[in-house]
C-alpha cells in the first residue's frame, strides 16, 4: 500500500526519478530517451521528443499504422464495409475492440459489428492476393449491397505487390459504388498516428464533397475527432440538438459515410482530438474555406467553454441565450454532485498515459474534483500536441513522416465559402482564436513529468516515486499497474463505463472516481502475516 503523499506546496522536482529511469538504458539510448522525458515548467518553452520510433524490444503502448487507420478513424463509421486485406489476426484484433457505439436509424445499414477479412493463405502470399480481394469485394457487395467499401492493407500486402488502389478502382467501375483503398501497412509509420493521417487523406479524397446537400439548419457544424467510445458522442449530440446547432457529420463516432459526403457544407469544424483529425480540418479549410476551432467536451468547464465558443462564432443572440440557459441548468446538476464528491477525493494524485488527446483532456475532469495530475504523456502524439501548434513549422520531417502522402489541396471555386473567410477575419480582429491548440504542457503543473510513449519500466518507476491514487491508461497497462496496488482507469475503453463527455458524462466520471478511490480492496493487498517475511519475490529481477 503506497504511503499517500500530499504535495501541498507544489510538486517535487522529479530529477532524481528521471536520472534513475535513464540509468537503465545504454548511454546512447539514454541520451535519446532523455528528450522524451520533460520536467514541465509551464512558463518556459520546452521541447519534447515525440513521434519517433519505439526502440525494438521495449514494450510500448503503441499500435500500428493499420490500427490507426482502420481501427480508429474508419472503424466507427457504420455504413461502410471495412474489408481488411491480409492474414486473419490483424482483422480479428480490430473487431469492435474500441467499444465505439453507433445508433443506426430505422432501416439504416450498420456494419460495425462485423470484422471482414480476406484471411490470406499461403497461396495468396506466394501468388498474390488481388484475385481473392476482388472476389471478397464482389461477395461483400452481393450480400450486403453497401454504399461504400474501404479496403485496408496489412503488412504483407505491400510486400507481395498487391495494389489495393487499382483493385478499388476496378471494383468501383464494376460495381458502381464508392470503393477506395488505404495503404496503411502496419510498418509504415511510428504508431497509429501515421494511420490517422492516411485515413484522413483517404476520406478527404474519396468521400468529402460528394454530395452538395441543401442547407438544413441555421448553424451547421462538423465535429472532428470524437469516436463515441462508451456513448460519448451521444452526450454531445444531445447538447447540440437542444441548442439548435445542426451537427452534419462527426468524424467518426456514430457516423455515416453518407453524412461525410456533405460535411463540406458546414459553417464550422470543431476539432476534439487534434492529433487524429487535424489534417481533414486543415484540408477542408483550404479547399472550402471552412474555419476550425479546438473544442473539448471532457469536463463540465470545458464543455461550457466550448459551447460558448461556438455561440460566439455564430454571434447569434438567440443561440447565445440558449447556450447560457443550458449551461445554467446543467451546471446546477453538476455542482450538486461535485460538491458531495470533491471533499472525498480532493488532493489525490493522478497520472495519465493515453492516446493523442485524452491525456490532456482528462486532466480537466480530474481538476474539477481537485485531483492533480503529476505525470502525463501521450501514446502516439506529436510535438504540437504537447507544445502547441506554434511548433509545427519547426518539427523535423523524418523518413517515417515522408512516407505518408501530403495531399496537395487546392481551392474548390464552386464550393468555396468566402463568407466564412470574411467572418473568420472579422472575428480574429476581435481576438477570437481559430486553430487554437496550445498543447498539453502549458496546462500542466510545474515539476510535473511529461513522458512521451511511456514504457513498462518507466511506469514502474513512476508509480514508485509518486505513489499515485489513480493511474489512467489502457487495458495493456491495467494489470501491471494494479498489481502494484494502484487502481487503473482505462481511458480507451472506459472499463465498460462511460459516457464521460459533456455534463452528464462529467457527473458519471465523478461518481466513478468516488467508487474507484474509496474501495477498500486496496487495503487488503498486504496479508497481515506478510510483514516480517523478506523472502518474497525470489524471481524478481533486480533493476
Amino acid at each position: 500500500m503506497p504511503n499517500r503523499k500530499n504535495y501541498i506546496n507544489g510538486l517535487p522536482d522529479p530529477s532524481t526519478l528521471k536520472e534513475e529511469i535513464l540509468k537503465k538504458y545504454p548511454p546512447k539510448l539514454a541520451k535519446k530517451r532523455a528528450k522524451g522525458l520533460v520536467i514541465n515548467d509551464p512558463n518556459l518553452e520546452q521541447e519534447i521528443m515525440a513521434n519517433v520510433r519505439t526502440i525494438p524490444g521495449i514494450i510500448t503502448q503503441r499500435g500500428c499504422t493499420y490500427a490507426g487507420c482502420k481501427g480508429v478513424v474508419l472503424g466507427p463509421t457504420r455504413d461502410i464495409i471495412n474489408l481488411v486485406h491480409g492474414p486473419i489476426g490483424c482483422s480479428f484484433y480490430a473487431w469492435l475492440t474500441r467499444r465505439n457505439q453507433t445508433r443506426p436509424l430505422e432501416g439504416e445499414d450498420n456494419y460495425i459489428t462485423y470484422s471482414f477479412s480476406t484471411d490470406m493463405q499461403d497461396e495468396n502470399i506466394v501468388f498474390g492476393g488481388e484475385a481473392k480481394l476482388k472476389e471478397a469485394v464482389r461477395e461483400a457487395y452481393e450480400i450486403f449491397k453497401p454504399k461504400a467499401i474501404g479496403i485496408f492493407s496489412t503488412c504483407p500486402v505491400g510486400l507481395i505487390g498487391d495494389d489495393v488502389h487499382s483493385v478499388s478502382r476496378d471494383m468501383k467501375a464494376e460495381l458502381g459504388i464508392n470503393i477506395f483503398g488505404f495503404s496503411c501497412e502496419g510498418y509504415r509509420g511510428v504508431s497509429q498516428s501515421a494511420g490517422h493521417h492516411i485515413a484522413n487523406n483517404g476520406v478527404f479524397k474519396h468521400v468529402v464533397g460528394l454530395n452538395d446537400r441543401e442547407r438544413v439548419g441555421k448553424f451547421q457544424v462538423n465535429l472532428l475527432g470524437e469516436y463515441n467510445i462508451g456513448g460519448d458522442a451521444f452526450e454531445i449530440e444531445k447538447l447540440f440538438e437542444e441548442a439548435g446547432i445542426t451537427l452534419l457529420s462527426t468524424f467518426s463516432g456514430n457516423s455515416t459515410i453518407k453524412s461525410m459526403e456533405y460535411s463540406h457544407t458546414a459553417d464550422l469544424n470543431m476539432v476534439m482530438c487534434h492529433r487524429s483529425i487535424n489534417y481533414i480540418a486543415e484540408m477542408m479549410e483550404e479547399k472550402y474555406g471552412i474555419p476550425w476551432i479546438k473544442v473539448s467536451f471532457v469536463g463540465a468547464e470545458s464543455t461550457c467553454k466550448s459551447l460558448r465558443k461556438i455561440a460566439d462564432y455564430f454571434g447569434d443572440a438567440d443561440l447565445k441565450a440558449k447556450v447560457e440557459e443550458i449551461i445554467a441548468r446543467e451546471m446546477a446538476k453538476v455542482e450538486a454532485v461535485k460538491s458531495s464528491i470533491r471533499p472525498k477525493v480532493e488532493g489525490k494524485l493522478a497520472m495519465m498515459f493515453v492516446g493523442g488527446s485524452r491525456a490532456h483532456h482528462y486532466q480537466d475532469l480530474f481538476a474539477e474534483l481537485g485531483i492533480r495530475t503529476v505525470s502525463a504523456g501521450y501514446e502516439f502524439a506529436h510535438r504540437d500536441d504537447y507544445e502547441g501548434r506554434k511548433v509545427i513549422p519547426s518539427i523535423k520531417i523524418d523518413a517515417d513522416t515522408r512516407n505518408i502522402e501530403e495531399l496537395s489541396v487546392t481551392k474548390d471555386e464552386a464550393h468555396f465559402r468566402p463568407d466564412l473567410v470574411e467572418k473568420k477575419a472579422e472575428l480574429v480582429s476581435k481576438g477570437f482564436e481559430f486553430k487554437d491548440y496550445d498543447g498539453m504542457m502549458p496546462d500542466m503543473l510545474k515539476n510535473s513529468l511529461v513522458i512521451d510513449d511511456v514504457n513498462h519500466w518507466e511506469t514502474e518507476k513512476l508509480i514508485e516515486f509518486y505513489k499515485p491514487d489513480v493511474f489512467c491508461a489502457g487495458i495493456k497497462e491495467k494489470y501491471v499497474v494494479q498489481k502494484a496496488g494502484v487502481p487503473l482507469k482505462q481511458l480507451h475503453s472506459y472499463d465498460y463505463g462511460g459516457p464521460y463527455t459533456a455534463f452528464d458524462g462529467a457527473i458519471n466520471f465523478y461518481v466513478e472516481m468516488e467508487r474507484m478511490l474509496a474501495t477498500n480492496i486496496w487495503k487488503m493487498i498486504d496479508a497481515p502475516w506478510k510483514h516480517e517475511s523478506e523472502l518474497v519475490g525470489s524471481m524478481t529481477i533486480e533493476a
Binding site: 537503465k24 545504454p26 520510433r53 519505439t54 525494438p56 524490444g57 514494450i59 510500448t60 503503441r62 499500435g63 500500428c64 499504422t65 490500427a67 474489408l83 492474414p87 486473419i88 489476426g89 482483422s91 480479428f92 484484433y93 445508433r103 450498420n110 459489428t113 462485423y114 470484422s115 471482414f116 477479412s117 480476406t118 484471411d119 493463405q121 499461403d122 502470399i125 472476389e135 471478397a136 461477395e139 461483400a140 503488412c155 504483407p156 510486400l159 507481395i160 502496419g186 510498418y187 509504415r188 517515417d400 514502474e460 487495458i475 495493456k476 491495467k478 501491471v480 498489481k483 502494484a484 493487498i525 498486504d526 506478510k530 518474497v536 519475490g537 524471481m539 524478481t540 529481477i541 533493476a543
Partner: protein, 486 residues
C-alpha cells in the same frame, strides 16, 4: 445469480436491440471473405506457449502492431500483465530485412529483463520477406560480449499457414526440438496439455501430484498467466516449466499428449505444402523413443477415464480414491440433471480439440451436438467428432473453417437451445435469445476466463452444472408462471 443475469440480459436485448444489431444474411454456399473469424493468429498461440516456460520473454518478430494487438487480447482474457516485445519493423526493415531490429530487440530485452529464455515467434510480415530468425540469433551470439546468455527458442508462425493453435503447438515443439536431450530413461512423464486454461493446468498438476508421478508439464503458464497480487513488481512472473525440465523431456518414461487434432491439419498452408508439422511428442518419439499417448482432452467421463487409466497404467499406481469419488459425484449429478438437459441441442465452437472434447461430453449427457464448428482448418474435425460422439453422430453438423457469421446464420435457421464456447459468439446469443455458456478462449466480457476449469472430473462437473443451470434458467425465465421449486 445466473437466473438474474439471464433476466437482465433478456431485458437489455429488447431495449438496446437497435444499437448493435448484426443483420442476419442468408448464406451463399462458399464464402471468400471471412466475416468475424473464429480463430486467432499464430504468434498469439506461440506467445502463450512461451509464457509457460520459466523466465521466458517472448519477442514477436514483425511490426509492433502484431505484438500490441496480441498483448491486448491476451491481457483482456487473462487479466494479467503480459509482456511481449516486438522487433518493431520499419519500412526499411521490410526492404533490407529485420536483422538489425531483431538484434536490437534481443539486446534490449536482455538488458531490461535478464530473462532465462527468449522465445521468438515470427509474423506474416517477417515470413513474407523470408527473414531467418535462427540466423539472427546466431548472429547475436557471435557479436555480443555478454558472458551469460539466455536460451533461445524460435518458432516459425506465419498466420497465413495456420491459426493460434498451430502457433501454440509449433512453439512447444520448437522448445523441445531445441532443448530436449536423450539419456537414461527416467520415471517421469511428459504432459503436453495443449492450449488450456491456467486453472486446467493447475488441475493437471494436482492430479499428477496426487498420483505421486514425477512429471514435466509443458507449457505451464498456470502461474505466469494467473498471478497472485504482488508486493513487489515482478518483471518476469514466477512459475513456468524450467529449461532443465524441458531438457529432460527426452528421457521421459512416456508422453501424454492432450488433443487429437493438434497442429496435424491437412488444410492449412504449411501442412498442405510439405506435411512437416510435428508435435513435441511426435518429435520425442522419433528422436528418443519416448512413447506417446495421444488422447482427447480429459473432459467428460469417458475421456477422463481414459486419461486416469493411462496415468495409472504408466505409473503402475492406483487411481487415488479422491478421483474415484469425484467421478462418482459427477455421475450422480448426471443422474440428477439428465431430465433438464436430455435432448437439448447445442452449438459448440472454438478450438478444434476443445470442440471435440466438449462434444464428447455433451454426447455423454444426452445433449445433442447440433453444430460443432471451428475456425481451424485441419480438415480433421469431422472424423474426430464422429469418433468421440457415438450417440447421435449422424445428426451432427461439423464445420471446419467456419466463422461466427456462418455460425450466426446456422443458428438463426436451426434454433439451437444453447451455445457453448468463447465469448465472441455472445452477439449471436444476444440477438437470437439463445443462452450461452462461456468457456475456452477468449473470454473478454467476463472476469475469470483464466480460472475456468474444463478438465478432469471436477472441471466436467463445473461445466455440467453451468450448462444445466443455464438451461433451467432459460426455461424458468421464459415460463409464464415462474417457479421456485424444480
Amino acid at each position: 445469480m445466473r437466473n438474474l443475469e439471464l433476466g437482465i440480459w433478456n431485458l437489455k436485448l429488447k431495449k438496446n436491440a437497435m444499437i448493435e444489431n448484426t443483420p442476419i444474411i442468408k448464406s451463399t454456399p462458399e464464402y471468400t471473405a471471412t466475416r468475424n473469424a473464429c480463430k486467432l493468429c499464430a504468434p498469439l498461440g506461440a506467445s502463450v506457449a512461451f509464457k509457460g516456460i520459466r523466465g521466458c520473454v517472448p519477442i514477436i518478430h514483425g511490426g509492433q502492431g502484431c505484438a500490441t494487438y496480441i498483448r491486448r487480447y491476451l491481457i483482456s482474457h487473462y487479466k494479467e500483465p503480459v509482456d511481449i516485445a516486438s522487433s518493431n519493423f520499419t519500412e526499411e526493415s521490410t526492404i533490407f530485412g529485420g536483422g538489425a531490429n531483431c538484434l536490437a530487440a534481443i539486446e534490449n530485452v536482455i538488458s531490461q529483463y535478464q530473462p532465462e529464455v527468449i522465445g521468438m515467434a515470427t509474423t506474416c510480415l517477417s515470413e513474407t520477406i523470408g527473414d531467418d530468425v535462427k540466423f539472427y540469433i546466431q548472429n547475436f551470439k557471435d557479436l555480443t560480449d555478454r558472458e551469460t546468455l539466455p536460451h533461445f527458442i524460435s518458432a516459425s508462425t506465419p498466420s497465413y499457414q495456420g491459426s493460434h493453435i498451430d502457433g501454440f503447438h509449433e512453439a512447444v515443439a520448437s522448445a523441445v526440438k531445441l532443448i530436449a536431450e536423450g539419456g537414461e530413461k527416467g520415471e517421469h512423464l511428459n504432459i503436453f496439455p495443449g492450449f488450456v486454461s491456467p486453472e486446467d493446468l493447475r488441475q493437471i498438476k494436482n492430479i499428477l501430484e496426487d498420483f505421486t508421478i514425477p512429471y514435466i508439464l509443458l507449457p505451464d503458464y498456470s502461474e505466469t498467466l494467473d498471478n497472485p497480487i504482488w508486493d513487489s513488481y515482478h518483471r518476469i512472473p514466477e512459475g513456468g516449466t524450467p529449461i532443465e525440465s524441458v531438457r529432460k523431456c527426452g528421457s521421459a518414461r512416456a508422453s501424454i499428449e492432450l488433443g487429437t487434432i493438434l497442429n496435424k491439419g491437412s488444410l492449412s498452408g504449411r501442412v498442405k505444402n510439405n506435411a512437416l508439422a510435428t508435435t513435441a511428442a511426435e518429435y520425442l518419439l522419433e528422436s528418443f523413443g519416448v512413447e506417446n499417448h495421444r488422447m482427447p482432452l480429459p473432459l467428460g467421463v469417458s475421456n477422463c477415464d481414459h486419461f486416469f487409466e493411462t496415468l495409472s497404467q504408466l505409473s503402475g499406481k492406483e487411481i487415488p480414491m479422491k478421483y474415484t469419488k469425484e467421478r462418482g459425484r459427477l455421475i450422480d449429478s448426471y443422474v440428477d440433471g439428465h431430465k433438464y438437459v436430455f435432448g437439448k441441442r447445442a452449438v459448440v465452437y472454438g478450438e478444434e480439440d476443445l470442440v471435440v472434447a466438449l462434444s464428447a461430453f455433451l454426447n455423454e449427457i444426452g445433449i445433442e451436438v447440433a453444430l460443432a464448428a471451428s475456425g481451424g482448418e485441419s480438415g480433421r474435425l469431422e472424423d474426430e467428432i464422429r469418433k468421440y460422439c457415438p450417440e447421435n453422430t449422424s445428426e451432427i453438423t461439423v464445420q471446419n473453417g467456419y466463422d461466427y457469421e456462418m455460425i450466426h446464420e446456422w443458428c438463426a435457421e436451426n434454433k439451437p437451445d444453447i451455445l457453448i464456447g468463447n465469448s465472441k459468439a455472445y452477439y449471436i446469443a444476444r440477438e437470437l435469445g439463445i443462452p450461452i455458456v462461456r468457456c475456452g478462449f477468449p473470454i473478454h466480457d467476463r472476469i475469470g476466463g483464466q480460472r475456468i476449469k474444463h478438465l478432469g472430473y471436477t472441471g466436467t462437473q463445473e461445466l455440467f452444472d453451468q450448462i444445466t443451470n443455464m438451461l433451467i434458467a432459460s426455461k424458468q425465465d421464459s415460463s409464464a408462471v415462474g417457479y421456485k421449486y424444480m
